[in-house]
């Protein structure tokens, strides 16, 4: 099957919102008047962003999910995306599964595939996503102010838990592993929450590399620091009951590593002034998720993870995941 047949069979569909979709030199988008276009690009590489064992359908889902998550962090409404795909070979089963997972999530968010590229090469998936946001209303990393509360949506740490189980550094009961694996392989981009947080949150970022590492980007961009409560860890992880149980026997450091430094959660970390607490909870409720207050923004730069007695814990074993570190 040639490149053009491949595109036609698995990825080309009638144009809906775009002016012009797959099949010309460019796609054409017409943003609504007064709207800015939010753009983000993520590249996924086997062994780095996904395991060779992942199902193609889950991979298709995840490849778009991580990009939609960037739109969510800006409070942008998904509009369209391009897909560039390097494939070692044409495997129709793989392509059918991949495109099914990809387009199902795209449809769920009204986000249209408008173009891209396919080539032979080591497996590589590069998606660029476009969203709309009213001019001046995008959630930025730079808006956090001293005194703001710090929140994280949903649950974090479970994707790392699954990764550690895959790596063999810990073992999990089958049902705990299955749930954690879902979190790793089929993350839920918090698009609805991002939209609901426009005008409420003072800053936001999506948690891709690890909660504290990503939060540090917000703090640096905003010129502030933060204190985060270590005691929230057990309530932030979805596998809370297990890790806290005698059966789980998680030492605090492993738990903190998963929750605070585990990547691949694709939740939103965000800040909002204390006056907005009710609005934050309402936004989370409307978006079908939760928002947990985990700390406070402080004027003093740096990030302090403190225990119940206010003592700072050593962050060195919880550092974020840097792709070239």
């Amino acid at each position: 099957m040639g490149e053009f047949d491949l595109i036609a069979r698995y990825f080309q569909r009638p144009v809906r919102r775009a002016v012009l979709g797959v099949g010309d030199d460019c796609a054409l988008l017409a943003p609504a008047p007064g709207m800015q276009l939010a753009v983000s690009s993520d590249m996924l590489v086997e062994g780095r962003h996904f395991l060779p064992t992942v199902q193609p359908e889950a991979l298709g889902h995840k490849a778009l999910a991580v990009n939609l998550s960037d739109l969510a962090a800006c409070g942008a409404q998904p509009l369209a995306f391009t897909l560039a795909l390097a494939l070692p070979r044409v495997d129709e089963d793989w392509l059918a599964g991949f495109s099914r997972g990809l387009l199902a999530l795209a449809d769920a968010h009204g986000c249209e595939l408008v173009g891209g590229d396919t080539t032979a090469g080591p497996l590589n998936i590069c998606i660029t996503v476009f969203g709309e946001v009213p001019a001046g209303q995008a959630l930025l990393r730079s808006g956090a102010r001293a005194g703001d509360d710090i929140y994280v949506s949903g649950t974090v740490g479970d994707a790392r838990l699954a990764l550690e189980a895959f790596r063999g550094t810990l073992s999990l009961p089958a049902e705990v592993f299955a749930a954690a694996r879902q979190r790793m392989e089929r993350p839920t981009p918090r698009v609805a929450l991002g939209l609901a947080l426009r005008g409420v949150a003072s800053s936001a970022i999506d948690v891709s590399d690890g909660l504290l590492g990503d939060l540090m980007h917000v703090l640096r961009a905003s010129g502030v620091g933060a204190r985060v409560e270590a005691s929230v860890a057990p309530e932030l992880i979805a596998a809370s009951a297990y890790v806290s149980s005698a059966r789980g026997q998680f030492d605090p450091e492993t738990l903190a590593t998963c929750v605070f430094a585990g990547g691949d959660d694709y939740e939103l970390a965000f800040t909002a002034p204390p006056a907005a607490r009710d609005a934050v909870q309402a936004a989370a409720r409307d978006a079908g998720t939760r928002a947990t207050r985990i700390g406070v923004v402080e004027a003093q730069p740096g990030l302090r993870l403190v225990d119940g007695a206010g003592h700072a814990l050593d962050l060195r074993r919880l550092h974020g995941f840097d792709h070239f570190a």
Copy 2:
């Protein structure tokens, strides 16, 4: 050097036209009122789109050039781009050269790097480019009509000539090889010509996979066919004097393969009604290139390459380059 340091050192620059550039979850673009956004994405893989011997600076140039070429084919004004980069290792010399070539071409076209991604992995360069075009004025593949003239800009075939020399299937004098190699490694996107052809050309495409193969996309999208004159081959290749000389001794088939099926030229193939002949030549002159009339659009589907006597030549040895063929 970590991912974030790498981005800051080689790719982050002050924002100019974009609302928000590198360093947040998304970049923000604000298209001017009445403008549509043209979007294209190209992925370059070593051994497939460039040779391991290519200089990083030339590769940076080419990676953006092939994307700007897609904007040119739509008649869009370059605005911004994202860069996703998988690197086997952090090689500062390579990065310095690559970013120099990339950003020099970006600056020449006022096209701003607004975001992207970096990761470890087999070398892969994925650029998504954004341009502006007044609503309804984009050059499309679907506008060719029977009776239109067919043109190609600049020179074609030299990139393939260089590739064949690299492959060892032919040998070239040093100065001929150097010039052909420039065409292969540092293509000139015909952005100015694409802009000048708005309202003049009836359809356009950029020549990336081979002149006739790419022309076929136009014909299919337009529901028409074409007759192309084989006799134009010697005047279309920049190495014309050499290939026509006793020293060159090019058989007609090798020449036709380079000119009609050679990829990587990044010229524009386009159609325009006969009444627009003067306007086409004026557009080419203004854009600093030339436009050669190579044939005519016909109602009968299919593409006929004919010799001086009007006999159809066998296209089977001149087919376009399909990435999975």
